[in-house]
């Protein structure tokens, strides 16, 4: 026999996501506000699935120019060399800077790809009402929420290098359009993770019992 759980949604309670106060919803009226902090209360984040889908798909599209266009161009003695995310990692490997290459590979390539794939998987699993391993899927969600920020390393490196390497004819560094697209991917996937509601993962289990 499966264990039956009570959920706030079932029992007519609403949890405030700002101040964590639990309130009893009178009927199923919309626009109830939290009595403590005034935040509008929702049983689930509004339009969570469509919002997260839209943001995730936008991030996929932006991911293409982020990788094809140069993120910065190093000009030394008049010779310019554009670098994409991947060629930047390759150069570090060729230069023997293995730990740094691994770090940038992880932050700029692994993290964004993994984040997009996990979000897609979570969205599909909710869409198809999967009841498989909800706890592990919730953990996956928490990972996407916390790890995304580390992708910003490359953007920060560019910001530091452009201001420091301004040596006129000797050497200059200029940012590239790829960096704009990549920054967009990082920000949009962060918004996507925020708009996803992990409680949707567990809702599929509820419907099983009815």
């Amino acid at each position: 026999m499966k264990k039956l759980y009570n959920t706030a949604a079932h029992k007519g309670y609403l949890l405030c996501h700002t101040c964590h106060l639990l309130s009893k919803a009178a009927t199923h009226v919309h626009s109830i506000h939290c009595p403590r902090c005034g935040t509008r209360l929702h049983s689930r984040k509004p339009n969570s699935l469509s919002r997260t889908w839209a943001l995730t798909l936008t991030a996929y599209i932006l991911y293409i120019p982020a990788n094809l266009l140069p993120i910065m161009t190093v000009t030394m003695s008049g010779k310019g060399e554009p670098d994409t995310i991947f060629s930047g990692v390759k150069e570090l490997v060729l230069g023997g800077m293995w730990p740094l290459a691994l770090l940038i590979f992880f932050a700029s390539i692994t993290v964004p790809v993994l984040k997009l794939l996990i979000l897609t998987y979570l969205l599909l699993s909710v869409q198809f009402k999967s009841s498989w391993r909800p706890k592990e899927r919730t953990i996956l969600y928490r990972i996407t929420e916390t790890v995304g920020r580390w992708s910003m390393i490359d953007i920060f490196v560019i910001a530091i290098l452009v201001a420091l390497v301004k040596l006129g004819a000797l050497a200059t560094i200029e940012a590239g359009a790829g960096a704009v697209a990549f920054g967009g991917v990082v920000v949009i996937t962060m918004f996507a993770a925020m708009s996803f509601d992990p409680r949707l993962i567990w809702d599929a289990l509820e419907n099983d019992h009815e």
Partner: protein
């Protein structure tokens, strides 16, 4: 007998819902340093930290001083063939603007300068009046904004960016690190400790109107 103990225990619990899986369950009254986890998904639902406001305020003040030092001093200094180039945190933002990449300039400005600064200032706005047993107008909105800012304050990631830039430039030129870099490095543990010292449940309870 056991019935009575159970009834007593029951009255000292309160109903809550898990923010990750929506499970409705009772949590006991937590003592200082205790945590409550969701029995279904394992999410941390509540933590009683029991730190004094003075402790959090001292950490926030130290963070503010370090933030000012990190932003008004030289971060890195590069020497190449008799030429010296200095930079501080804002000059990266400025240069990105000059090059026409305002989108990245704005992004870097927000996550490395604006969000950390606003976070510290929001805390002062909420905590100082609480310490004096009063409340400033819009304290709840300000505290809610503080929590919204958290994912956008990326000082520790920026620090790693500085280190990567240092290694990349190492064989190109001689780089000296400035006071700002040390201040920035010290700011990170202090900001983390400030965040960790706060008991958001307790703060929300004290912000509740008493009348």
């Amino acid at each position: 007998m056991s019935q009575m103990i159970k009834a007593q225990a029951e009255s000292r619990t309160h109903l809550t819902a898990c923010h990750d899986c929506d499970l409705l369950f009772h949590i006991p009254h937590l003592k200082k340093g205790e945590q409550a986890h969701c029995p279904r998904c394992g999410a941390l639902v509540m933590e009683r930290k029991g730190n004094s406001l003075d402790y959090s305020l001292a950490l926030a003040l130290t963070s503010l001083i370090l933030f000012v030092m990190a932003n008004f001093n030289v971060l890195l200094r590069m020497n190449v063939g008799g030429r010296t180039q200095e930079e501080n945190i804002i000059s990266g933002v400025n240069e990105l603007f000059v090059q026409g990449y305002w989108e990245i300039a704005v992004l870097v400005f927000i996550v490395s300068i604006l969000a950390p600064l606003l976070k510290i200032l929001c805390l002062f706005y909420v905590l100082i009046p609480l310490r004096l047993n009063t409340r400033f107008p819009y304290a709840k909105e300000v505290f809610s904004f503080y929590e919204t800012l958290s994912p956008w304050s990326m000082t520790e990631v920026y620090m790693l960016g500085i280190l990567v830039a240092l290694v990349k430039l190492a064989d190109l030129a001689t780089i000296n690190v400035g006071i700002a870099l040390y201040s920035f490095a010290a700011l990170i543990p202090f900001m983390a400790a400030t965040d960790a010292s706060l008991d958001d449940h307790e703060i929300w309870e004290s912000l509740e109107p008493t009348d």
